[in-house]
Amino acid sequence: MNGESKPKKNEQIALLVTCLSDLFRPQIAHATVELIEKLGYRVDVPAQTCCGQPAYNAGEEDKTRMLAENMIRIFEPYRYVVGSSGSCVATIKEHYPRLFREGTSEYEQCMKFAQKTYELSTFLVDFIQVNLEKKPLFDKQPVRITYHDSCSGLRELGIRSQPRKLLRDRLGIDISEISNSEVCCGFGGLFCVKYPEISTRMVDNKIEGIEHVEADVLLGGDLGCLMNIAGRLRRVGSKTRVYHYAELLTETVPGPAIGYQE
């Protein structure tokens, strides 16, 4: 069965790039590829588009179904699919099956896709059960790192301990937890531009938490939220830098943070 037993060495794994990473933060996708390749698997990146999450949350079910069929077809040849965004993976695993009628062949195809698709940290920790080798982090130590638990990943996929374990294994660090790590940052897809004032207040609350622990770095697993938080941090003149957690797990010292060029 697709995606149920662990992949063998050299097995091909398809990367779910996710559009925001494709457009604004290729580093995340590169990091994901590096992590998977280092485990001895081959990564393939079939030409792909968007999972349809924005349309789905806007109530555009027909357009979402069309895009879902597209994605199911694109990833059909692969036994495993790994993506580095909780909300995109949750769209595929939790919401795609609601778009098709049970018992139809489309539904069967969709369930197969849902089953074989993994979010990166759940793939590494829950499925492959990897123990990453320890490496030094930034040149300058010590760095205080905090974490934002993006809502979809947290509540729809149960992602909370997995990225923390990876970071602990790899960097030997424990997260300086903020009290509101599980509260929405105010991104919410179209919400942030539909209700910018409310969204800004929400991200300001998040930043209050970040400032309280005096974090140098904020990590998370969903680029939408990270762009929102990073954008606001930068606007209010904060020194806190924002990265996707995968970017800190690679061999190289991470480059400029989200929204920085140097």
Binding site: V17, E60, K63, N70, C151, E197, M202, P256
Partner: protein
């Protein structure tokens, strides 16, 4: 209550600037959320109770006619009268008719959100009755001439200072001093209300659960005002809605374990009272007449639709306490009786989607409400269904629909998508150089994206998309 939901945007924006509201809501959020967590974790099978409650409510909703008529005949058997009201006007007429007697002047009222749906107080006042709200929060907002902003903590938006001023204004004439400390404020309200309790001719309360098996009404409160309202006057009228019926006492036990914990973080509320008809011959006290008004007001139309799950709601308020939108803008912005997630689902159903166009969208779909709901209502999914309906009805914003269409046409074709996204990041790069922010790494402003960039920077993308970079890597291998 007049529907103001169309003004959501405006009132929400105003609420964000209200410093007092921020203080009041901040305190409430912490209190409700933390205490709930403690008492929920203490019960090792909380989830089992949630499933029990969900299943029980689903069962009752599937056989609502059976349980309601059973409830009716059992109320009648214990000497009470049952009145059916299909809408708010009918409720007001029924209650006014019951009260229309020369000796009846003053009506005390326990907390009832259902009665807010059709402004029962205003209806009674128009018929020349004096109505006194006896729940402390309700009393406060009655003085302030406001509406509840939370379904269990109606005055949650008020600071202590605001209450001090309000009491001073209304109680001074009767010789009461200005009170500043929390305990003094409560004591003064207690004294003022005590007089009303003893002189009221009719008491109106709501009901949390209607027990079909026994014809009992369960009322769950913390202040004791419900019991004084119900038992001291000669007439007790319960105004409640049809979806609150449950089969039996055993079911009540389950719901009680959930309600207090979810609502206020209490293992049990201070008062749990069962009302069973009027005073019996051997009883020392109690009302001489006992009326139950069963309100539909649009609920039966939700039955059997894709929104039926919302009828499970036991009005605990946990969803709003955990909602990051509600806790920042408060309840009034939602513009009708029920705010927060459950309100955003219910209001469009009860007042019409066109009258509450923002509510289904005023949510980030973060799902926190769903995880705390004691009857497991999939709130974000129901909000998404509202959005689906708005799209299907052609009620979503034209700009949004058009944008979605263009984007979907691009996204259904990987080659077109690749071209367009590559072009897009290149354009953004050119723009970044023109605006001299390329080395900075972030835009401070992007035309057409002001809603983002007015308060947040936007990252300058790399010169090529990931898929573009990947193609290059593959070619060089």
């Amino acid at each position: 209550m007049q529907v103001q939901s169309k003004n959501f945007r405006k009132t929400a924006k105003k609420a964000l600037l209200d410093a007092d509201l921020r203080v009041a809501m901040g305190r409430a959020e912490g209190g409700f959320v933390d205490t709930r967590k403690l008492v929920v974790e203490e019960l090792d099978n909380f989830q089992e109770y949630r499933e029990f409650a969900r299943d029980t409510k689903n069962h009752v909703l599937a056989h609502l006619d059976y349980y309601l008529t059973k409830f009716e005949s059992n109320v009648q058997a214990s000497g009470g009268q049952v009145h059916w009201a299909s809408n708010g006007e009918e409720v007001n007429r029924i209650v006014v008719d019951i009260c229309k007697r020369p000796e009846i002047k003053k009506i005390t009222k326990g907390k009832s959100m259902v009665s807010e749906e059709f402004a029962l107080n205003a209806g009674l006042e128009a018929a020349d009755f004096q109505v006194i709200e006896t729940d402390l929060g309700e009393y406060i907002i009655q003085l302030a001439n406001e509406t509840p902003s939370h379904i269990i903590a109606p005055a949650v938006h008020k600071t202590k200072q605001a209450v001090t001023d309000l009491f001073d204004e209304y109680h001074r004439e009767a010789g009461y001093p200005r009170v500043v400390e929390r305990l003094d404020i409560v004591n003064q309200a207690r004294q003022v209300l005590r007089d009303h309790f003893c002189t009221a001719d009719v008491g109106i309360t709501g009901g949390n659960f209607l027990i079909a098996d026994t014809g009992s009404i369960a009322l769950i409160t913390n202040e004791g005002n419900g019991d004084l309202t119900a038992n001291l006057p000669k007439i007790h009228i319960v105004v409640t809605s049809i979806e609150k019926v449950i089969p039996d006492m055993q079911a009540l036990g389950g719901f009680l374990r959930l309600l207090g914990r979810s609502a206020t973080g209490q293992i049990m509320s201070v008062y749990t009272t069962l009302f069973n008809g009027p005073k019996r011959i051997d009883d020392l006290d109690g009302p001489e007449e006992f009326h139950v008004v069963l309100v539909d007001n649009g609920r039966s139309e939700i039955l059997g639709t894709q929104f039926q799950d919302i009828l499970r709601c036991i009005k605990c308020g946990a969803c709003m306490n955990h909602c990051p939108v509600y806790t920042n803008i408060g309840g009034h912005a939602y513009g009708w009786v029920y705010p927060g997630p459950m309100g955003s689902v219910l209001t469009p159903l009860m007042v019409g989607q066109k009258n509450a166009p923002d509510l289904p969208y005023a949510c980030t779909l973060n799902g926190r409400c769903k995880t705390v709901c004691p009857v497991m209502i999939p709130l974000p999914d129901l909000l998404r269904k509202h959005r689906n309906n708005l799209v299907e009805m052609g009620e979503s914003k034209r700009f949004q629909r058009w944008g979605m269409w263009v984007w979907a046409q691009v996204a259904r074709n990987p080659r077109l998508y690749f071209l367009m996204t590559s072009l897009y990041v290149r354009k953004l790069n050119v723009l970044a150089r023109l605006l001299l922010v390329f080395r900075r790494g972030s835009f401070k402003h992007i035309p057409m994206l002001g809603a983002w960039t007015s308060t947040r920077d936007f990252p300058v993308p790399s010169t090529a998309t990931f898929q573009g970079q990947w193609k290059k890597r593959k070619r060089s291998e």
